[in-house]
Symmetry: C2
Subunit: 328 residues, 2 copies
């Protein structure tokens, strides 16, 4: 394998833990450490051989890290850390505030070009793999429509909304793609579908002692924006059931391009994910793209990049000749 | 849009006709002509504005063509035409003899480097899109297994085998992926599956007058290599039914990567195609990659390439900034 690709992790929540695990599955990579703005002594990494450093210690590790994987949030952390760290390191991140991507790209691009680093932003599965499939779908079938379905998956925002309802002690919400909608898209009919028509919402709720179940259900299913426009079901469960059956963070979804070529011939391209753990899968994507970033940096391809700029072969530990012989 | 990308088609069978149609769906492209080794006067192109030239006239069109799309066969045509034409033009082809890809790549690569052209070989859906998904699957989920299912689709080789059986006047064979096998893969169990266990075969046969149906059925289902090891069904139909119901060339299939991240969390990536016309879809893929080849050539990326070398954004008529703002 030669010299391993030396990875640093910035931030140690669910995503950072996923990156720690993913690096261990890739024989051509080595984890140099986790960098945190918390007190390093208070962090308890999942793997015994993981070293934890203070964020400020990054300066001293400049020469021992090939790619930093940024695992902070898109709202508070990345807008500051992305440009700041791209000015010193090759980076990969999962910036996912769609509307602010052009602005964030420009800030990271400036820093990376000045420092001759390579900075891949906004990877993961959406934005990320789903984005690739949206672009390829419309490029391969210009006459067509693209449909993105999300789920079955735990939605953090909707779970938070449930927990704010008076009488609710705890709860989670799953976004479910509508089977009818998916079937109608797969049939090639190219139906016009709203987000509401494409998805239903399943809520699992723990009541506070003495709360009125009917009132709680009504409050949830009529909540504007979050639930009112959706087919929403509410099931009441115990606190034990919530902890036992709803601790995972599954997610997934499907991107379908339905189009036609000549003579109305129907053609369908479908890309789907069923994820047992959303953060662990996102972390696996970040780590494969860290390999590509390392290689693009070595080739002198500096500046900000997105998944649209990355040839798929660069994600693989195999050589180009191996890929052609073994996987083409 | 600026100056259109000027496309030439070499060879005019089902694939060449598909390219002719696909170019017309892409506003940033213009078809400069079809080049054939048959008598140009005897070719009857599907579109009235398509001009047909003799293959040897390619020499005169050197300066008026940006990318040639080679639509010949992998056995007889491409091994000669690929290197020969890459020495004068940017090319795209669908060379699909898996075992000979390294050798073919080397021959085209030498010619293309010497001539400073860009030559994308072996694109389409398999090899092509399926190959990309095999590489991405194992790169994103190193702990896992990859499964490729083909169908429901018309297999030319198996249809030919049926037609050689004594007593058969005509017939077609569809390869069908096994629902049980796909379900067991989707469940995350990572079952070991042979090609036979993954597929069944459906035959539609027209008998010659006086032929013995039972004998024909027995001859088909026991035919070594082609059918004996598969669950094979034979249905007898009329000549009219054959022409009416089995004239299309549907195909498709699915690539599934089933893997796990930490703590045995199951993760599944699935890419599937349902194609109303196999040659027309393959043609659409070739045309999108012709756009990428034109751009890579303009960037000075010379030599032979495969789908593994092409950033997905280059397939799209949109600019990189548009893609980031609109599709990421």
């Amino acid at each position: 394998m030669g010299t391993p690709i030396r990875i640093g992790i910035v931030g140690y929540g669910n995503l950072g833990r996923g990156v720690e695990a993913a690096v261990s599955h890739n024989a051509d990579m080595a984890l140099m450490g986790v960098f945190t703005r918390r007190n390093p002594a208070e962090l308890n990494p999942a793997r015994a051989d993981t070293t934890v450093f203070a964020y400020d210690a990054l300066t001293e590790h400049h020469d021992s890290i090939d790619v930093l994987v940024l695992c902070g949030g898109s709202k508070e952390d990345l807008p500051q850390q992305g440009p700041e760290l791209a000015a010193r390191f090759n980076i990969v991140d999962s910036f996912d505030t769609h509307a602010r991507i052009p602005e964030y790209f420009a800030a990271v691009d400036g820093a990376a070009h000045e420092a001759s680093t390579t900075a891949l932003i906004s990877t993961g599965w959406d934005p990320g793999l789903f984005s690739i499939n949206r672009v390829m779908g419309e490029s391969l079938l210009p006459e067509g429509d693209t449909y993105t379905f999300w789920g079955r998956g735990l939605s953090q925002g909707h779970s938070d909304a449930i927990r704010r309802v008076p009488g609710v002690a705890g709860g989670v919400q799953y976004t479910i793609p509508s089977d009818e909608a998916i079937d109608s898209v797969r049939s090639g009919l190219r139906p016009p579908l709203t987000t509401q028509q494409k998805h239903t919402r399943e809520c699992y709720v723990v009541l506070q002692d003495g709360a009125d179940a009917d009132a709680v259900r009504a409050a949830i299913v009529t909540m504007p924006h979050y639930f009112a426009d959706y087919n929403t079901t509410v099931s009441f469960i115990s606190d034990d059931e919530l902890r036992r059956d709803h601790a995972d963070m599954p997610h997934g979804g499907t991107v379908i391009r339905s189009g036609s070529t000549s003579h109305g011939k129907r053609q369908t391209i479908e890309f789907g994910l069923q994820l047992g753990s959303n953060p662990e899968f996102t972390a696996s994507v970040l780590v494969a793209y860290a390999r590509a970033v390392h290689r693009m940096g070595a080739q002198g391809q500096y500046g900000a990049k997105t998944v649209f700029d990355v040839p798929p072969g660069l994600l693989s530990p195999r050589s180009a000749a191996q890929l052609r012989a073994e996987l083409l």
